[in-house]
Symmetry: C2
Subunit: 209 residues, 2 copies
């Protein structure tokens, strides 16, 4: 059975997955940039054929993904109605997804095909519907949620996520978007299957019971 997976979500020790005041100059919110560096370093090391705790997690995240889901705040810094449709994501002409990307938003736009096989679709449908579309697009492979906090939370609360990998970064952020919050009964469905620290972060993997 194809799975719904989430990988490489960095959270501060106090639980934030994004800093306050997200904007063009601070895609991850203020104070968050350095916290996500472990992942970029691990991606470089992976490309160079190195191994290690961080690299292994990044390597896993790239395996067998056929479609992507994300929230509108991860797609861009805009809030409210689109002023125009020139924004096509943070990732340039050839985004690193290479598959269909479903962007949750209340502000619909036509789909945006990009180079390299990525197409952004905008949807205001419920998570169950979007997930079904994503599984269909993935054609037997797994679906990955890219982020951010609000989106992962909705799927977790609904018990739809099969595997969630967090990287806890040792910093107190104090404010921002909390990840593991408002989960309701959703938490009962999960157990932590791994907990291991690299020099940079602590990796925790949540799986369904």
């Amino acid at each position: 059975m194809p799975k719904l997976r989430v990988h490489n979500i960095t959270v501060s020790l106090d639980g934030y997955a994004a800093g306050p005041n997200q904007r063009l100059e601070h895609p991850l919110g203020e104070g968050f940039e350095e916290m996500h560096d472990w992942m970029f370093a691990a991606m470089r090391d992976h490309a160079d054929g190195r191994t290690g705790v961080d690299v292994d997690h990044v390597a896993r995240s790239e395996e067998n993904i056929g479609a992507t889901i994300m929230g509108r705040n991860m797609f861009g810094p805009h809030r409210g109605p689109w002023q125009d449709e020139s924004w096509k994501g943070w990732w340039g002409a050839n985004p690193p997804y290479h598959n269909d990307v479903f962007v949750h938003t209340h502000h619909l736009r036509p789909s945006v095909p990009m180079e390299g096989g990525t197409t952004f679709h905008f949807t205001d449908e419920p998570v169950e519907t979007v997930l079904a579309r994503a599984f269909e697009a993935a054609d037997g492979k797994d679906v990955r949620i890219g982020g951010g906090a609000a989106t992962v939370q909705q799927y977790l609360r609904a018990g739809l996520i099969d595997e969630l990998h967090l990287a806890v970064f040792p910093k107190l952020l104090g404010s921002g978007e909390r990840l593991l919050d408002n989960l309701g009964d959703g938490v009962d469905g999960y157990r932590v299957s791994e907990l291991v620290s690299s020099p940079a972060v602590t990796h925790a993997v949540l799986v369904r019971r």
Copy 2:
């Protein structure tokens, strides 16, 4: 300079230091009991002369403490005015403190001397005042805050804690008392100096910048 230290505070992966519905049968709140077992196991191992990541942390926590501070919810399950003064803490006739213990509460009572050198004092004074009294009682040694979440938070927010050791337990609790919350600018004063996982928990040590 004597320090204000906090040790062995277990928090769930979603940041709770106590479960919901604290009461006589659930001193730590519902669902929390198993999460604190690592500490009791480490205390036993320490007494038996064993070593290890968890044991080392527990050993450190016992060194050079001259006075203790705690919140009223850690002292007992009562809320509101005392019905009588028969409650003398969870710890029996000879509590494991062996020094002056200052209990923050709005509901004052006369001090309670116990066997083994522990005396419980009840105070509604501000944290700065209570800390000064505790340092005086500690007579050159360090002061330790026992818990719970609300009390540690106040001292952290005020930037008064020199060292805070957390043990992150790999479980989602979903509700309860969050520790690293409402810290305001208090967070700016701290950095994480250690992050290491044992098979049971991830130890994080926060120190003042």
